[in-house]
């Protein structure tokens, strides 16, 4: 197992290194001059040259990359072009908010989608399954902002149950923020629900066809035992990987959802940074998100290997 973990960690580092290179190269492609973006159109040539030297923009690209990565790793994430504040404090605060929202979403979405998937899989091709399957197929593609606006219309404007605006103040705790988290979390739930439900259903259908299920049934085990003891253990194993993959979707979904609900998370910060072409902010947000995504994948792989010896022996 330790060799497996070591290999996965090495692979993770390699991916992160390559991805950070991609992020760096993409953000250096900015058409036009970064110094001019900061100082404005009217800036004088000596001032521009001085700023370029200060930002290291006169250095060759590989050198710039190495020093950029070095500074990032030692905790110096640079200064925001648009607010003049250090990027790190801002990004970490917003990341905490995004994690609160993601956490609540997973808390709702995972049990619900597993339940729906298992029910649909056990009732394969019955009316209940058709309802769940077509329903999930329909909502799987609804953009988050459409789902979010429908939820706002129903739960905020009509029923007055939850606020339509989730712009919480900095430092608000989870339980204090809960009423404002509910609608964005429900919206994000739809992103995961349909996908996880479909794959869980497929896993259950696949396992129900296996020979051991027939053996267990024919030797007289009650259906509840066959399903609970045998089928679910095998069928739910792959959903760990599915959940890790859908975490990437959740990140994308949260970017839109935070904008719909005005929620101060990383996604809202990212669109803010894009509007102002704030490169250091964009780089830090992207890097931190990729790190979270990669760690989620690693965690899922390790959990999977821990539960399934066949993988780690390969």
């Amino acid at each position: 197992m330790s060799r497996y973990i070591a290999r996965r960690l090495l692979f993770l580092l390699l991916t992160l290194l390559l991805t950070s290179m991609i992020i760096f190269v993409v953000t250096q492609w900015l058409p036009g001059d970064v110094a001019r973006v900061i100082l404005g159109r009217e800036a004088s040539e000596p001032a521009l040259a001085a700023l370029r030297a200060e930002l290291g923009l006169d250095q060759p690209l590989p050198l710039q990359y190495v020093s950029w990565l070095g500074r990032f790793l030692t905790g110096d994430w640079g200064t925001s072009y648009s607010t003049g504040e250090p990027v790190r404090a801002l990004v970490l605060e917003r990341a905490g908010n995004s994690m609160m929202l993601a956490g609540l979403t997973l808390l709702i979405a995972v049990p619900l989608s597993l339940l729906l998937g298992v029910v649909a899989g056990l009732k394969a091709d019955k009316p209940l399954d058709a309802t769940i399957s077509i329903g999930s197929l329909a909502v799987v593609g609804l953009p988050e902002f459409v789902t979010g606006l429908i939820l706002i219309e129903v739960f905020a404007f009509r029923l007055h149950l939850f606020p339509a605006n989730s712009s919480i103040r900095p430092g608000t705790g989870f339980f204090e923020a809960l009423p404002q988290l509910v609608l964005p979390a429900l919206t994000a739930t739809f992103v995961l629900l349909a996908y996880v439900t479909r794959l869980t259903r497929a896993g259950v259908v696949e396992e129900m066809r296996q020979g051991y299920v027939r053996t267990a049934t024919l030797k007289g085990l009650p259906r509840r035992t066959v399903v609970g003891r045998h089928v679910l253990r095998n069928a739910l194993l792959p959903t760990i990987t599915v959940l890790a993959i859908s975490f990437g979707w959740l990140i994308g979904g949260l970017i839109v959802i935070e904008n719909v609900f005005n929620y101060p998370g990383l996604g809202r910060l990212m669109t803010f940074a894009i509007d102002r072409r704030d490169l250091p902010l964009m780089q830090a947000i992207t890097l931190i998100t990729v790190l979270a995504f990669a760690l989620a994948n690693l965690g899922a792989d390790l959990l999977y290997a821990g539960l399934n010896p066949r993988i780690r022996l390969e």
Binding site: G141, L142, P143, R201, A202, G248, M270
Partner: protein, 305 residues
């Protein structure tokens, strides 16, 4: 999509006869695919929705009573009526006309993006996987690192750098989807190139280009068709989301996502200006999803999910 496989003849002399024979064959194949799609209620519904929006995109200017940008004087914020089926927005623009004319925008953008991504991704996947070796290894390590970025985040990063515009969105779709398509193609090629008939073609001394086109490409088409359908539905999703975030197609274009975000501040005054474009997005996406799911059942039978 299904018609692509017939374009095999490369000798100019046989081109004329080839085309005359191929054209009806393409039609029959489309007709067959369509009939199979209409055999299931859910994919029939999806296909119908897609066809309706396609008609809207093709004949939009004939259907729409007003232009997309015309601000009708004295007619701002009108509720839906016979004159303005979906009402007018806060600037006095006819929402029905904007929704109808917006169909062409989103379908053309998502369609072109998907097409380019599928063509480029297929070429890279085919040749890289067939040749193998270091280039293949490096290419797909690079693609895997790109895929370590969630699609929307990568899209935003690129748009933040090149600036929002219709062409940028097209570039973004290609960058985001080429690695995914190339990977799907690669996985099929890796198993096909082990087959005996490919080995036989190689021993006969056929060129790489010819082996890839005649012996390997046909095995890729079912998975590729399904993938293209999926990519198309995600592309619509992405174009709409980028428009909503204000980093995609720019005003005053009748982009549905953009219309939704522009109508938001006035939702209590002109809810119709928000809900009709939102409904159009929802119906189009659901339609493409159901149709793509049907396509998968037709092209890759026996495969769950």
């Amino acid at each position: 999509m299904a018609g692509n496989t017939t374009g095999g003849g490369s000798q100019p002399a046989s081109l004329a006869t080839h085309e005359r024979r191929a054209l009806p064959a393409v039609f029959t194949r489309w007709w067959h695919a369509l009939r199979e799609l209409y055999a299931r209620p859910s994919s029939a519904l999806g296909t119908t929705l897609v066809l309706v929006f396609l008609a809207m995109a093709l004949f939009g200017p004939l259907i729409a009573p007003y232009s997309a940008t015309e601000q009708i004087s004295g007619a701002a914020r009108q509720a839906p009526s016979v004159q303005h089926l979906f009402g007018t927005d806060h600037l006095g623009r006819d929402v029905f006309s904007r929704v109808v004319l917006g169909a062409r925008d989103i379908l053309a953008l998502a369609g072109l993006g998907t097409l380019f991504a599928v063509v480029i991704g297929t070429l890279i996947g085919l040749f890289s996987a067939y040749r193998g070796g270091l280039t293949d290894e490096v290419t797909f390590r690079f693609f895997d690192s790109l895929l370590a970025l969630p699609a929307l985040l990568l899209a935003l990063l690129v748009l933040g750098v090149v600036g929002p515009s219709r062409n940028s969105v097209l570039v973004v779709l290609v960058i985001v989807y080429v690695p995914i398509v190339a990977r799907v193609v690669r996985s099929v090629v890796l198993s096909t190139k082990q087959k005996g008939y490919v080995e036989a073609a190689r021993l006969q001394g056929e060129s790489t280009a010819s082996i890839v086109r005649r012996d390997i490409f046909p095995s890729v088409t079912p998975a590729l068709t399904v993938e293209a359908g999926l990519r198309f539905s995600y592309a619509i999703f992405l174009v709409a989301s980028l428009g909503f975030l204000g980093v995609g197609v720019q005003p005053p274009n009748p982009d549905w996502g953009l219309m939704v975000s522009q109508a938001r501040p006035y939702v209590s005054l002109t809810p119709w200006a928000l809900y009709f474009p939102a409904a159009a997005i929802a119906l189009l996406v659901i339609g493409v999803n159901l149709a793509a799911d049907g396509l998968k059942r037709v092209m890759l039978p026996g495969r769950e999910v």
